[in-house]
């Protein structure tokens, strides 16, 4: 078995052993079911596909939850092992530094994948069985992009973990990154737009400013990508020319995974063990 897969398997087993996978899957399943059934109550059922409603509410949930889960897995990955002293022994084995990062990334992504597919997928099946599955493609995109969003924040977490010297610093930085990208970014953007009355450079650059934040890329991808979803997400009024094509959004999300992961690998390669 390739070294990367040996390391990935260890991370995955760690996630199963400490019940992280079980707890996360159950939380996602419970929240998804709750949102799917309670969330469609205020909308009523007038021509609405409840699965489309579920996509909207789950997307809003995912934006908060998955980045947090991913950062919690990743911030410890390098600096924690260095602090506990297990990294020195690992690196004395015949393996390359990039394989350590790649192995952890694969293992952690697999954990997020299993939790999301089981949690959201299970809820999606229940909703589809109860109310029909017209919005199934949108739901599939939601699950896939949720994992991608998690992967992007895993990559950011590894970057934090390789740059800092102390575990506590990494934890603090991880919370800061989450707060800025998930909460503050949109608030500041909204404030800036309101202050400039939708005129000027910020408004002109608006779609590109959104690309600079993986959480917003995820939101756009899910809330504006499908007509059935758009009417519930409040984005139906958005002019067509203002919307970025899904391919661009997917590419942006991929870049948000690849670039921090690449940087983390470079920084880790130079780190003294």
């Amino acid at each position: 078995m390739p070294t990367v897969l040996i390391l990935a398997e260890k991370e995955f087993r760690d996630g199963m052993r400490n019940r992280w996978l079980l707890a996360t899957t159950l939380v996602l399943l419970a929240l998804a079911l709750g949102l799917a059934f309670l969330g469609s109550a205020p909308v009523g059922h007038v021509g609405a596909a409840p699965l489309a409603v579920a996509v909207v509410s789950l997307a809003s949930l995912t934006v908060f939850l998955l980045p947090l889960m991913a950062l919690m897995l990743a911030f410890d990955a390098v600096v924690g092992e260095a602090e506990r002293g297990t990294l020195l022994l690992l690196l004395s084995y015949p393996l390359r530094r990039w394989q350590v990062i790649a192995g952890k990334f694969l293992g952690h992504t697999a954990l997020l994948l299993v939790a999301t597919v089981t949690g959201y997928g299970g809820a999606g099946l229940v909703v589809a069985a109860a109310a029909g599955g017209e919005a199934a493609p949108a739901f599939a995109v939601l699950v896939a992009s949720s994992v991608a969003l998690g992967a992007a924040f895993l990559a950011l977490g590894y970057l934090i973990s390789t740059v800092v010297r102390e575990r506590a610093t990494a934890a603090g930085l991880a919370v800061a990154v989450w707060l800025v990208l998930v909460v503050l970014y949109d608030l500041v953007l909204l404030g800036a737009l309101a202050a400039t009355r939708g005129q000027g450079p910020i408004a002109a650059l608006f779609p590109w400013v959104l690309l600079a934040n993986p959480a917003d890329v995820f939101r756009l991808l899910n809330l504006s990508g499908f007509a059935a979803v758009r009417q519930f997400s409040g984005l139906s009024g958005l002019a067509a020319e203002q919307m970025l094509p899904p391919a661009v959004l997917a590419a942006a999300l991929a870049a948000w995974i690849a670039v921090p992961l690449g940087l983390a690998t470079i920084v880790f390669g130079r780190r003294a063990p």
Binding site: D14, T86, L88, L91, S92, A272
Partner: protein, 275 residues
């Protein structure tokens, strides 16, 4: 294997021009106070640090190859949640060895009874033995052991050196560092004394003793019941013994300076900046 190796961290000289080599079937002990550069030398030999100057060759390879090297770090730490059996299997796979070899090694270090328990429940001695087991994976031709016997009871320590002895007999080279000078004297072939990154002495205990020329203590008990103790310079040792034997004593003991005394001598002889 090491030629004029220098390693700087910022302005600190961790290793300042060390040249030494080990041959197969030899045990070399690294002696030195904390911060003398022992651990840095091991990291250099593992290729985990690159020399600022000079070169490190392990089994002819630059940078050093890790496959034929076994390493036991100082105060070894493991992922606590895994069991001993899971851990040795994980390390065996990383070294491309069958998991069965890991089980054999666990038995060899006397951990087969605890293989199913989480490492978090292991005592210091058990962790150290698990550390030795993983270092022995793949029959390494070079073993690097950093303070391997610190905090171990004498029984475990003896078993430790027995296992090392087996490996040395089958042709492995061993480099180990320790603070426990007394045990190294009989269990290693050569001693390297490091002082603030410099190699101040290198050789067999006897060679170091000859070089140091420290006085020898001679104790003699005579037939008339009197006993006396003489401290004589190393050069006068044989002459003194001949003279004492002529008195036809009941008993005669000669105490050569121990490794402690040799270590203190070489570190003290080395010119010392304000310390």
């Amino acid at each position: 294997m090491l030629e004029g190796v220098v390693k700087r961290f910022g302005t600190t000289m961790a290793v300042a021009g060390v040249t030494l080599s080990v041959t197969f079937g030899e045990r070399l002990a690294l002696l030195g106070h904390n911060g003398a550069g022992k651990t840095t030398l091991m990291k250099l030999m593992l290729g985990l640090a690159t020399p600022s100057a000079g070169s490190v060759r392990v089994l002819g390879e630059v940078p050093p190859a890790r496959q034929p090297v076994g390493f036991l770090p100082e105060a070894v730490a493991f992922p606590e949640a895994m069991t001993g059996a899971e851990l040795i299997a994980f390390y065996a796979r990383l070294k491309r060895r069958p998991p069965a070899e890991g089980r054999v090694l666990l038995r060899r270090v006397g951990l087969d009874g605890a293989a199913g328990r989480r490492v978090a429940t292991y005592s210091k001695g058990m962790r150290q033995r698990l550390g030795l087991a993983q270092a022995l994976l793949g029959q390494p031709r070079l073993l690097l052991l950093d303070e391997p016997t610190g905090g171990l009871d004498p029984e475990v320590r003896a078993a430790f050196y027995d296992i090392l002895g087996e490996r040395v007999e089958s042709g492995a080279a061993v480099i180990l560092s320790s603070h426990l000078l007394a045990e190294l004297e009989t269990r290693t072939d050569r001693i390297a004394i490091l002082d603030r990154g410099r190699l101040v002495a290198l050789g067999t205990v006897d060679a170091l003793r000859a070089r140091a020329g420290l006085p020898v203590t001679v104790r003699v008990r005579l037939k008339d019941g009197t006993a006396r103790t003489d401290v004589v310079p190393a050069a006068d040792k044989l002459a003194t013994l001949r003279r004492l034997l002529a008195l036809d004593p009941l008993d005669l003991t000669v105490a050569e300076p121990g490794l402690d005394a040799l270590y203190a001598h070489f570190v003290a002889v080395a010119p010392c900046p304000p310390c």
